[in-house]
Amino acid sequence: DQQVKQNSPSLSVQEGRISILNCDYTNSMFDYFLWYKKYPAEGPTFLISISSIKDKNEDGRFTVFLNKSAKHLSLHIVPSQPGDSAVYFCAARGGGSSNTGKLIFGQGTTLQVKP
């Protein structure tokens, strides 16, 4: 069963507007969440993360919000730029995996930012 779900396969936004990518999870033992960005023909690159003890983490144009009661996290990109067009993966780490860093990934959301 999919423990990390990204229910929107794709998202299209206008340059300069906000992009909101969503992720839901089922396992309340997850203690750390990450977002990765992937361009075609390249490996995923780490974007931003959040610990389960926080509800928000910000890095420049990227902010991740965590709602533990709803088991939901979101990535906000403001303002969106054409170079942000990529596949975004949400990932979660189990509480017993802090040494190995083993992750469970969502299906990915393809973001297209139109000029």
């Binding site: 990390v4 990204q6 396969p9 990450l34 990765y36 023909a41 390249e42 490996g43 995923p44 690159t45 780490f46 993360s49 993966f89 990932a91 802090s98 040494n99 190995t100 860093g101 083993k102 992750l103 469970i104 990934f105 969502g106 299906q107 990915g108």
Partner: protein
């Protein structure tokens, strides 16, 4: 910067062949991972290794094996390749001290 290098970007093999995918990292990381990426399924963990000669099955290990004889190198082996193993294969590494996993650029494997 962490560098994770996968030996081939594209590979075409035939059904029944034994296939080796190689991955090397230059950061002395203890943990290394093999994933496959398929449309609509995201990244799924095949195997991971937390030390030399140590390995654990991931979520989809069937049809695969791995080898970690040296700390910097983690190999994925398709014992007898089948068409349903056509996929993008991604290797990653991570140190024990923390931080995110760092990925290679992937190997696009086609089994004919």
């Amino acid at each position: 910067d962490v560098k994770v290098t996968q030996s081939s970007r594209y590979l075409v093999k035939r059904t029944g062949e034994k296939v080796f995918l190689e991955c090397v990292q230059d950061m002395d990381h203890e943990n290394m991972f093999w994933y496959r990426q398929d449309p609509g399924l995201g990244l799924r963990l095949i195997y991971f290794s937390y030390d030399v000669k140590m390995k654990e099955k991931g979520d989809i290990p069937e049809g695969y094996s791995v080898s970690r004889e040296k700390k910097e190198r983690f190999s994925l082996i398709l014992e007898s390749a089948s068409t349903n193993q056509t996929s993008m294969y991604l290797c990653a590494s991570r140190g024990r001290q923390g931080g995110p996993q760092h990925f290679g650029d992937g190997t696009r494997l086609s089994i004919l």
